[in-house]
């Protein structure tokens, strides 16, 4: 066995706290190590060429690179050694950057630790065996979860490229948050004019199936071959018959909360969220329906010309087989009422959220686009915007910037002037202005200079009602004095939060999410739209708060990644899978019981007895069966018990 060890300086990232050169000399003493060198940047082209040269010239049969995390460059170096004729699994990384140089200051101690990390990696690579991937067929259909602007963009891009796409949307219509907006920044063009044609494109596309009012219930399988159970929620209306005429909505006597209008108005118990809904189909909110609550009414059933009302409808489940899944579930508005008692906590009628104001500005919204006070329906003369409500505020557990509020506040401030007249006083309280997109800073400047919006730097400490006004008490930190403004209408630039149910969906999909419920990308720069679960991708604000241009751009990026994956007819599966030593298997079938993927199966031998056998292309390599098998007859390739014990010995006995 001839092992080569390459120790990276990573510029000064490693070399500043770890003596890479000294380590190269020491590692040469290790058993079976025949070649060591320290390299400035091992991942660079000359760095990789150096490894390949050493493999050829020194006849290396195993390679260890001591550098960054394997999550960063394991794939890079495996490819590198493979190109030089070595099996990619005869390679091991020693993580001396993230796990050593970056977390320590003392060079002597850090170097000693790095040496032990390298020894562990050498011990592991010594037990390594060449492994060979299997190939599986790829299903080329795609599931997109969430029918907002990001999900629609992904679906259209993929469908235009010829893939069959299913969009699963939990509301009764696609469109997402963008469908609820009035205008979009920084162009002040109408949101619906951009979005609704795209919604219709998606609905009419021969390669797209929209499943509205549906949710992903269960996901099985793996990249290239997912099996997804989708719950189609009972709308109490037969959508094959419903023609979206809204007669039922007009006649329905019961009212319920209007999610679409952000609670600014009420809707009927049977409802269609907005006129351009896709699909335009009615659904009954059973919690508010008189028939379901009191057992009488049935007005909708009587007026429906299509005989579509079905009070006995039940949830149904359908199954879809897909090769890739795109998650585009978007975001929700921060529930500010629970967190800001100083702003009235929702009890002052003339204090509303940014999204509520958006609905008020919208011509098809509940006020027909007329801006008025909630308390007395009069047009406001003084309007105050408060930024960073539920953003950049650690006191409410939201340290992050919601990225859209500065811009939509400027937009709404401008629209206020155009709706209520130039003589309306508009104030914006802000901490900082974040206007980083194309044309954004210019837009803020326009709001200030052209439209005369007053920007006041400082936080608002309190809102209270006084004499029919909402008193806004805050600090002008530039002038250094307290200000108090009697306002008619106060709009909170409410931040964004992850979509309701995001953590549960993440668990269904086995993808990671952060403490705020935003889904975690595989790597922010190297794999920004992939998740750590192969075949599952992200698009839009479900990953982090994003505005529309960014969401759409990312969605197209995601589509290209999905296309890259599904362009292949066969996928290579990881060879790091479990394997059963059938000569020792006692047939207890505990492996079958514990496997989450149904990879082990009973295999009948010639003598009529059965032994366990792991289907390599189904096995995901978790190793649960390995730790469960009572006779230790299952081994996990790449993570054998021997290799783990050898690593322990190196770490402890050295």
């Amino acid at each position: 066995m001839r092992i080569g060890v390459f120790i990276c300086h990573c510029g000064t990232n490693i070399a500043a706290t770890v003596d890479s050169h000294g380590l190269a000399e020491r590692a040469a003493e290790l058993k079976d190590v025949v070649h060591t060198e320290d390299v400035m940047y091992t991942c660079s082209e000359p760095g990789q060429a150096g490894i390949q040269r050493a493999i050829r010239e020194k006849g290396l049969t195993r390679v260890v690179v001591a550098a960054c995390s394997p999550q960063m460059h394991e794939v890079t170096f495996r490819r590198c050694v493979e190109d030089a004729g070595l099996n990619p699994h005869l390679f091991e990384m020693a993580n001396i950057r993230e796990h050593c140089s970056w977390i320590h200051d003392d060079k002597e101690l850090a170097t000693e630790k790095a040496y032990e990390i390298i020894k562990m990696a050498v011990a592991k690579v010594r037990t390594a065996e060449p492994l060979f991937p299997n190939e599986v067929d790829v299903n080329k259909d795609v599931l997109v979860i969430g029918g907002g602007v990001a999900g629609i963009q992904v679906a259209l891009d993929l469908a235009d490229a010829g893939l069959k796409v299913t969009i699963v949307e939990r509301e009764t219509t696609i469109g997402g948050t963008m469908a609820r907006l009035d205008k979009t920044f920084p162009t002040i063009d109408c949101s619906a004019c951009i979005l609704t044609p795209r919604m219709v494109d998606a609905a009419h596309h021969e390669n797209i199936t929209i499943m509205a009012y549906s949710e992903v219930d269960r996901v099985q399988g793996y990249v290239g071959n997912f099996v997804v159970d989708i719950k189609r929620k009972a709308a109490m209306v037969d959508w094959n018959r419903c023609i979206g005429c809204e007669l039922c909505v007009q006649k329905c006597p019961a009212r319920g909360p209007d999610y679409f209008n952000a609670g600014l108005a009420e809707t009927k118990a049977i409802y269609i969220p907005f006129p351009q809904a896709v699909p335009k189909r009615a659904a009954i909110q059973t919690d508010y329906c008189r028939w379901f609550q009191q057992g009488k009414c049935r007005v909708c059933s009587r007026v429906c010309p299509a005989n579509a009302i079905d009070y006995d409808q039940q949830d149904t489940y359908v199954q879809r087989k897909v090769g890739a899944i795109v998650v585009a579930t978007g975001m929700d508005v921060f529930p500010w009422e629970e967190y800001y008692p100083q702003y009235g906590g929702g009890r002052i009628p003339d204090v509303i959220s940014g999204l509520q104001y958006e609905r008020m500005l919208n011509a098809s919204g509940p006020t027909g686009g007329h801006v008025h006070r909630i308390s007395n329906h009069e047009e406001p003369k003084t309007v105050v915007f408060i930024q960073c409500v539920g953003s950049r505020d650690e006191a409410v557990g939201r340290p992050y910037c919601s990225s859209v509020c500065c811009m939509y506040t400027a937009k709404q401030a401008i629209l206020t002037k155009s709706h209520c007249g130039d003589d309306t006083d508009v104030y914006v309280f802000y901490i900082d202005i974040r206007a980083t997109g194309k044309g954004y800073e210019e837009f803020i400047k326009r709001a200030q200079s052209e439209f005369g919006v007053n920007y006041v730097r400082g936080r608002v400490s309190k809102l209270y009602e006084d004499n029919g006004k909402v008193m806004v008490r805050g600090m002008d930190t530039l002038l250094g004095h307290q200000v108090e403004i009697p306002a008619d209408l106060v709009i909170l630039a409410t931040g964004t939060t992850s979509a309701e149910g995001a953590p549960q969906l993440a668990q269904t999909l086995n993808i990671s999410y952060d403490e705020f419920g935003f889904f975690k990308e595989s790597h922010p720069k190297l794999r920004p739209v992939e998740t750590n679960t192969a075949g599952i991708f992200l698009a839009g604000a479900c990953q982090s708060p994003k505005d529309i241009p960014t969401s759409v751009a990312q969605a197209s990026g995601t589509a290209s990644k999905v296309l890259g994956l599904l362009a292949k007819d066969k996928l290579k599966t990881s060879p790091e899978v479990a394997v059963v030593d059938q000569s020792r298997c006692v047939g207890c079938w505990k492996c079958i019981d514990v496997c989450p993927f149904s990879a082990p199966e009973k295999q009948e031998l010639r003598d009529g007895t059965s032994r366990s056998h792991v289907i390599e292309t189904v096995c995901q390599g978790c190793g649960i069966c390995v730790a469960t098998c009572p006779v230790n007859c299952i081994s996990l390739k790449g993570f054998t018990t021997d290799s783990l014990i050898d690593q322990l010995e190196e770490a402890l006995l050295g």
């Binding site: 394997p70 970056w102 086995n510 990671s512 999410y513 975690k520 649960i624 322990l648």
Partner: protein, 139 residues
């Protein structure tokens, strides 16, 4: 921060998807950590046979930390549920083998919890450091 090294030897067995990535995140964020622990990567805590922890003690570890994805968040759906049962039993067994239970812990650190990883290792290393090297050699 414990700067005195060589005092105790601690093995951290971590799953690839959550805790290893969390530890990577802690490195990327330059969150300082004690020297006295060595990370061993496995695909899933479900892969960890409790005997492996005992093996570590046998080979001379003064402390063993096992960390994976939060319950419910396992990359393989349920590996950490199986692991949790085994780890809990191991915890109860250790005193019978003459190993202070404080020398062993299992915990959950997600890929986004870099600061939590720093806290977990710092606390554990400090605690084991106070106990000092384990007396009595193999088990």
């Amino acid at each position: 921060m414990t700067d005195s090294s060589g005092n105790v030897k601690i093995i951290a067995i971590v799953c690839n998807w959550c805790s290893y990535a969390g530890a990577d995140g802690a490195g990327t964020a330059r969150l300082k950590q004690p020297y006295d622990f060595r990370v061993m990567r496995v695909p899933c805590t479900g892969r960890v046979d409790p005997l492996l922890a005992l093996k570590a003690f046998e080979k001379g570890a003064d402390g063993v930390l096992i960390s994976g994805c939060h319950p419910g968040d396992c990359h393989y759906s349920e590996g950490n549920y199986y692991a949790r049962r085994k780890f809990e039993l191991l915890k109860r067994m250790l005193p019978h083998l003459g190993i202070e239970p404080e020398r062993y812990t299992y915990t959950w650190v997600s890929a986004s919890e870099a600061a939590r990883w720093q806290q977990v290792v710092t606390n554990f290393v400090t605690k084991v450091g106070e106990l000092g090297p384990r007396q009595g050699g193999a088990l």
